[in-house]
């Protein structure tokens, strides 16, 4: 076993990962705050007013990163689920479970901001645009995973059942997106998609990237904090939990 593999597994035991996560949470939290602050400044004061949509288009600086994150987090959850099933490491299952609420949050935000952007631009709160519809279905997938986790008491079964659902879901996402796109173009003709016509000035793209990275750092911080809770909940009888300073105090 190469040394790299050995120490990689070293962190896969909850006891060693718990303190590491504790140190990482504040670091990523600070990164997130800085990036989002810069992103907000850019999106309000630097990005030019769009000639067609005026100031309203600035909503994309929240809508797009949230949509990216909702998809990215689901893929990361599926990655942890696959890892957990193959190596039978319970920690990766916990990571997938820790990411779920944050992923659902970003999906909801993507839908919320999409609606608030659609109203002034297209006159309707909800537009059956291919991307928005797929986002809605992704939200159902998140809700399904969280409901399944909640319904099973035995944590081992909950982990592995959730992992299977994630893998089945991740295989279906391209199919769902393709079928929704086909359905969308078929019924409405090539409807102008929400972002199709906004001229992508470089500053806008940069702002979106910075906001996305900020959201990414935020997700890691929240997920790591939540995974610490999950580890404590599951390892409450373990000896090392008893010796923790915050428990003994």
């Amino acid at each position: 076993m190469s040394s790299r593999l050995v120490n990689w597994f070293h962190f896969s035991s909850p006891a060693t990962f718990y303190p590491l996560a504790g140190r990482l949470v504040p670091i990523f939290a600070v990164i997130a705050v800085i990036l989002i602050a810069v992103g907000l400044y850019l999106s309000f004061f630097v990005a030019p007013t769009d000639y067609k949509q005026g100031e309203g288009y600035r909503i994309i600086f929240v809508h797009v990163p949230a949509a990216w994150m909702s998809m990215f987090i689901y893929l990361v959850m599926a990655f942890w689920a696959a890892l957990g099933l193959i190596f039978n490491t319970r920690l990766s299952m916990m990571m997938a479970q820790a990411l779920a609420p944050t992923g659902a949050l970003f999906t909801f935000l993507a839908l919320w901001t999409g609606a608030f952007w659609g109203k002034p631009m297209w006159g309707a709160w909800w537009v059956w645009d291919a991307r928005l519809t797929s986002e809605l279905i992704l939200f159902f997938l998140y809700m399904g995973y969280i409901a399944l986790q909640g319904a099973i008491d035995d944590t081992r079964r909950a982990d592995r059942a959730g992992a299977i659902l994630l893998l089945v879901g991740v295989v279906n996402i391209p199919i769902i997106y393709f079928s929704v796109k086909w359905w969308n173009t078929l019924h409405q003709g090539a409807s102008v998609s929400l972002r199709g016509d906004v001229s992508m000035a470089t500053t806008m793209l940069v702002t979106m990237l910075i906001m996305a990275l900020g959201f990414w750092a935020y997700s890691i911080a929240v997920a790591l904090k939540r995974v610490r809770c999950i580890i404590l909940e599951r390892e409450r009888d373990a000896g090392w939990v008893g010796k923790l300073p915050e428990i003994r105090a």
Binding site: I137, F140, L141, M143, G144, A147, L148, A151, I152, D154, R156, R157, R160, A161, I164, L165, L167, V168, G169, V171, N172, I175, I176, F178, S179, V180, W182, W183, L186
Partner: protein
């Protein structure tokens, strides 16, 4: 190799014959849902003709999902599921048999009945033919994908609602291409493209779904 599978199929069909009520409830559910819409929307035939594909497909989808809960529940309670997991055959082959039997009991009757119900919506012969074809390709895919949800939620309280939450998002492509095929045919676009896609989804489900269901069964039966 398929000997145990055929045994399972014959057993489930025998059980369905012995307990006819299970078969009929799914069928009547489909009939009732399809008949409700004209009452809700009004008797104008041209509007009915417009909404028919969607109504039929959503009704078929809900009927198949309702029947899912009983797919493994009976075997789980009386212990035959354990014997299935301990059979010398690969589990996904047995799952294929179970799902095929389930489709023969709940899916096929819908397909055969839909032309009759189509008359309620004054659908021309050609549209009815495409409707039956799309349902014939779609309902097995629904059963295969639904089986994953049934296996995951085995023995859980509130299983029925949970299954629908897990499985509905995965049903959407089948619904889109199924209803789309009928609608495309009615509007003269030709349904070939949709039916091919439906066939592709069915093939993918045939290959992948039993494997996922087998793994889920093994986890749930622990």
């Amino acid at each position: 190799m398929f000997e145990a599978m055929t045994v399972l199929i014959r057993r489930d069909l025998l059980l369905a014959l012995r307990r006819r009520s299970d078969v009929l409830t799914t069928l009547f559910f489909f009939v009732i849902v399809v008949s409700l819409f004209p009452l809700g929307i009004g008797p104008e035939l041209d509007t009915l003709r417009l909404i028919a594909p969607g109504v039929f497909w959503v009704a078929a989808l809900l009927a198949s999902m309702l029947a899912l809960e009983k797919l493994f529940a009976g075997d789980f309670e009386d212990g035959t599921l354990e014997q299935m997991l301990l059979a010398p055959e690969p589990v996904f082959v047995l799952v294929l048999g179970k799902v095929l039997a389930h489709w023969l009991i709940t899916g096929l009757p819908l397909v055969l009945l839909s032309p009759l119900l189509g008359l309620q919506y004054d659908l021309p012969g050609e549209t009815l033919r495409v409707m039956v074809l799309s349902l014939l390709l779609g309902t097995p895919a629904l059963s295969l994908i639904g089986a994953i949800g049934a296996a995951l939620t085995l023995g859980l309280r509130g299983g029925g609602v949970l299954i629908s939450l897990l499985v509905l998002p995965l049903y959407i492509p089948v619904l889109i291409f199924g209803a789309g095929a009928v609608e495309a045919n009615a509007s003269g676009l030709g349904a070939a493209g949709h039916l091919y896609m439906l066939g592709a989804i069915l093939l993918l489900a045939l290959v992948a779904a039993p494997l996922a269901t087998a793994a889920a069964l093994r986890i749930s039966a622990e």
